[in-house]
């Protein structure tokens, strides 16, 4: 096992690699963490994800813009790819499978991909349908995989209306499924009107929302562990 000092050093390295959008350092840090016997979950959540939380803050403060944020996300993925095979399944009490995609007629998928990444990090099984996804495909995939959550994304008002149809169809087939919407033209009002369960503000803020989601997951994880300790 790694000493506390070594652990702190590696965690800081991973965190900085993400903040400094340095893919090479992220890969290197991830490999070193594994070699030093660091717990992969620890490295991901306290290293990579904690770095991404800082990026989210910097983005909100307009210190970072879209390109930096995207490069940070790439750096996070580079480290994650190495660490992920070593993750012990998190026992969160949350069943994790998600169907995600950008609805028919829409090819804008940056926001969707970032949200997807966050689900990846959180250990969900993600069924990514990609972009310009025919509306029936969402229902089909949900039924096939029996996922708990369906995430719909749209960038344009013209394609946004397709979400309503997907939601209606999903509700008919499976009233229990949770549905989340995201994308520039979507608002809480739209989400309420269409009958969705949740809403992520827009493509750029989706990152922050996803981070909040991870943060709450982290909290849940800590609580679970605290219970176990008792």
């Amino acid at each position: 096992m790694a000493t506390d000092e070594k652990r702190a050093e590696l965690i800081a390295k991973l965190r900085n690699a993400v903040i400094q959008y340095d893919e090479d350092a992220s890969k290197e840090g991830a490999q070193e963490a594994l070699d030093a016997g660091l717990d992969a979950n620890d490295a991901i959540f306290n290293g990579l994800v904690s770095g991404m939380e800082e990026v989210g803050r910097m983005f909100e403060a307009q210190e970072y813009f879209v390109p930096e944020m995207l490069m940070c996300a790439d750096a996070l993925y580079a480290g994650l790819d190495i660490l992920k095979p070593h993750v012990k399944q998190l026992d969160l009490g949350v069943k994790g499978s998600v169907v995600i995609g950008t609805v028919e007629g829409d090819v804008h998928d940056i926001g969707k991909n970032i949200v997807k990444m966050m689900f990846d990090v959180a250990g969900f099984t993600v069924y990514d349908l990609g972009r310009d996804v025919p509306l029936e495909k969402f229902v089909e995939e949900q039924m096939k995989t029996d996922s708990d959550l369906v995430c719909l994304s749209a960038m344009m008002t013209t394609t946004m209306t397709g979400m309503k149809k997907v939601i209606d169809d999903l509700r008919k087939k499976n009233p229990n499924v949770k549905i989340m919407l995201g994308g520039a033209p979507v608002s809480q009002d739209v989400a309420d009107k269409y009958g969705a369960d949740g809403y992520a503000k827009d493509a750029t803020n989706a990152l922050k929302d996803a981070i909040n989601m991870i943060a709450s997951l982290k909290k849940m994880k800590d609580e679970v562990e605290a219970k176990k300790a008792k």
Partner: protein, 236 residues
């Protein structure tokens, strides 16, 4: 800072390095990174030009980051992994635009960057940054003059003969469909889509070519060179 960056890149294998001021030329997402370091590497057959370009880019990124500046490396056109997040933004940017703005050359009739010393035989990569590097003087218009060699030798007659200038960068220089269909036909015959005659034939920079290519292309162009103006003979 610019001089030492340039020297560092040239020392490590870059053929030409220029800095462009791209204020007002960039789309909103990347507009805060308005200086471009344009890096050109001489194309030599059988050498790994791409890996050299990528190495040079990383070197430039490290150099600028170490001095506290932001960077965005736009990889060479032929080395774009489309799986990354940042690759979505690459299409907002054109290497040749950066190169002409950095004074490395002009866009020739064959639609390629023509450098006075190396002709169209350069592979390009760019690093965008917010460092206040002093910019080189841009080249404003096509300096091919009356030279028509590439037009005459193009097997698919794809080169229109129009002239590029920085103020009208969107004129059609090459009929892309004709060029593409020729490459497809080539692929069907001998499995290689390569044509590149308009690169090989260009009289600019032939002097600085690797000897092996020089030999071949001299043969091709002996007829063509006769039609050149006297002022070009020294280059050939």
């Amino acid at each position: 800072m610019k001089t030492s960056l340039r020297r560092e890149l040239l020392d490590h294998g870059a053929t030409v390095v220029g800095v462009a001021d791209l204020r007002g030329y960039l789309s909103g997402e990347i507009a805060h990174l308005d200086r471009a370091v344009s890096i050109g590497v001489g194309r030599r057959l059988n050498e790994d030009t791409l890996s050299l370009l990528v190495k040079l880019q990383k070197r430039a990124v490290r150099f600028l980051k170490a001095r506290g500046h932001r960077t965005l490396a736009i990889p060479p056109d032929s080395d774009r992994k489309n799986s990354t997040f940042i690759s979505k933004l690459y299409s907002l940017f054109n290497h040749k635009m950066a190169a002409t703005s950095a004074g490395l050359g002009w866009i020739g009739k064959n639609g390629l960057l023509i450098n006075p010393d190396y002709g169209p035989r350069l592979s390009l990569a760019t690093v965008l940054t917010d460092a206040r590097l002093s910019a080189d003087v841009p080249i404003e218009r096509c300096l091919c003059g009356s030279c028509m060699i590439c037009i005459e030798h193009c097997p698919s007659k794809a080169i229109t003969g129009s002239e590029w200038s920085r103020s009208s960068p969107f004129v059609e220089l090459v009929k892309l469909n004709a060029c593409r269909s020729h490459k497809a036909a080539k692929r069907a015959i001998d499995n290689k889509p390569n044509c590149g005659l308009c690169i090989n034939i260009c009289p600019y920079g032939r002097k600085n070519q690797a000897p092996s290519i020089k030999h071949i292309s001299n043969k091709i162009s002996r007829t063509g060179s006769l039609e050149l103006g006297v002022s070009r003979l020294d280059i050939i």
